[in-house]
């Protein structure tokens, strides 16, 4: 199966010396991969590099086997993004916000309508976004990412601001989208339990480096928990640095 996305040694260094170095993983149709790491580990940087919000200093980003340096447009057509706190246009309605993206696709408006239904905002489609709660804005961000039938969703802390029921609905929606449409999902979250239920693979980032990549089944075999596996990994990495 052809990968949708391939990251090969992708790197970015900020002016303060921090950043993300040597990120390498692939996303195939139907993959649900979690990016796990503490604050400042580089999760958002990886997502911004994929979305083109940041330009990489080194490495390669391939979308369906082609580099994105010449044009990022095919990638943006094919991938739905929700990076950091999604900021919609407050003075537009929910539907008008989605229409901004839908107009780029022949059947985009139908896709936007469906996305609003899927995230449970269909009844609020004509309300201005500035009146939305944080949880509603998160859901609208997801609807924006879903507009245009992407084959891959890139979601950064997508359940921030959502209540327990909202999180459960969100998880069920993502799994349904994966099962019914073969949608691939790359998501970062602090909530290890959420990742344990959603992801079938994990990429662990620590202090700007990728320190592990593993399948969820491998991690959980023998009664281990993702949390314990992650903590062992990060503490081990810290000890190695101290010894060196």
């Amino acid at each position: 199966m052809e990968p949708i996305l391939e990251l090969q040694n992708l790197s970015k260094t900020y002016s303060n010396g921090r950043g993300m170095h040597g990120t390498t993983f692939i996303m195939k149709p139907g993959d649900v991969t979690g990016l796990l790491g503490a604050n400042g580990a580089g999760k958002s940087t990886v997502m911004k590099l994929i979305s083109g919000l940041l330009a990489p200093d080194g490495g390669t980003l391939l979308h369906r086997g082609k580099g994105t340096t010449e044009s990022i447009r095919p990638l943006l057509r094919d991938v739905g993004f929700m990076v950091e706190q999604p900021e919609a246009f407050g003075y537009l309605t929910a539907m008008e916000n989605l229409a901004q993206k839908a107009r780029f696709y022949r059947n985009g408006m139908a896709s936007a309508e469906l996305a609003l239904q899927q995230v449970g905002l269909a009844n609020h489609r004509h309300e201005k976004v500035k009146t939305f709660s944080m949880g509603m804005k998160q859901r609208l961000g997801l609807a924006f990412a879903l507009t245009g039938d992407p084959s891959l969703l890139v979601l950064d802390e997508p359940t921030n601001g959502m209540d327990i029921e909202g999180r459960t609905d969100f998880r069920e929606l993502l799994l349904a989208l994966r099962d019914n449409r073969g949608l691939a999902i790359l998501l970062s979250t602090h909530l290890v339990s959420e990742l344990e239920q959603l992801a079938d693979g994990v990429v662990v980032l620590h202090e700007g480096r990728q320190i592990a990549t593993s399948g969820m089944q491998q991690i959980l075999q023998g009664g281990n928990s993702l949390e314990q596996w992650y903590l062992d990994l990060v503490r081990g990495s810290r000890k190695n640095v101290e010894v060196a």
């Binding site: 447009r73 943006l76 094919d78 739905g80 990076v83 349904a176 449409r181 073969g182």
Partner: protein, 276 residues
């Protein structure tokens, strides 16, 4: 939402004549990316109140002048209908039109970057160059809208004023003055667009514009030879530029066009490379 609900919604969608979800949208949608982006920007601009306030003010000015003449100076042909639009344009070109252009440019760049909604725009399948130039076109269209509203209002108000020349001269003068006023406006837009790539605060950009303008005026006063190539020399003419002799009009056009192109391109190069 569970799988059954997703299936149900997909069924509704199929009934509506849409193909089922099988992955990506067709790559051959054959949609004009720049056209969609300009439309998006225009909708955002039109949803805000500012452009309508500027439009209404622009429309009211000729009416106010015509009423003033009719009420205060009845029977006196001080303001002929041919002069109404040009007079109004001369009134708004030095301050109101640049302020409006700057406001629209600040909304399109500084406001979106500051609030983070620029990310939503950059996630659209358009590319940064298209986003940048669509914003520029949309701001220019907004400025032309205000000028056009004023022209239309002048034509209607002028019906109640005494005339001097034929209708053709009247309309032709109006169009030439509009074109002459849009070049300095385009320069202002390009200047704000380049400043917005380096500065975060709208207030800071406006202060920079004022200081820059004062500085360049001082420079053109101190170094006379430099004056012809400085934009501020020609900005002041605004709508009156059409009354310049051909050589002066050409110089005004060439200098302002060169600076506009330079600033527009500089802003674009920075916008292409910066991180968000």
């Amino acid at each position: 939402m569970d799988a059954k609900k997703v299936e149900a919604v997909s069924a509704i969608q199929l009934e509506a004549g849409r193909r089922p979800f099988t992955g990506r949208m067709d790559e051959t949608d054959n949609i004009s990316v720049l056209g969609v982006m300009v439309r998006n920007e225009w909708i955002k601009q039109g949803t805000r109140r500012k452009i309508w306030i500027f439009g209404i003010l622009s429309a009211l000015l000729p009416v106010a002048l015509a009423v003033l003449q009719g009420v205060l100076l009845p029977g006196q042909a001080i303001l002929a209908r041919e002069d109404l639009f040009l007079t109004c344009l001369r009134l708004i070109t030095p301050l109101v039109l640049p302020l409006m252009a700057a406001t629209l440019a600040l909304d399109a760049f500084t406001d979106e970057i500051g609030k983070g909604s620029i990310r939503s725009t950059l996630f659209l399948p358009a590319g940064r160059a298209t986003v940048y130039w669509a914003k520029a076109l949309s701001i220019l269209a907004g400025s032309a809208f205000a000028t056009g509203t004023m022209w239309l209002s002048s034509v209607l108000s002028g019906l109640f004023l005494p005339g001097r020349d034929s209708w053709l001269v009247w309309l032709g003068t109006g169009l030439a003055a509009t074109a002459a006023s849009l070049l300095p406006t385009t320069f202002i837009i390009a200047t704000v667009m380049v400043l917005a790539q380096f500065m975060k605060s709208a207030g800071g950009i406006l202060v920079s514009l004022v200081i820059g303008s004062l500085g360049l005026n001082l420079l053109s006063f101190l170094v006379k030879d430099l004056a012809p190539v400085l934009p501020v020399t020609w900005l002041g003419y605004g709508a009156s530029a059409m009354t310049l002799p051909p050589a002066g009009l050409l110089a005004a056009f060439a200098v302002l066009a060169a600076w506009t192109t330079l600033f527009g391109m500089a802003g674009w190069l920075r916008f292409e490379r910066r991180g968000f």
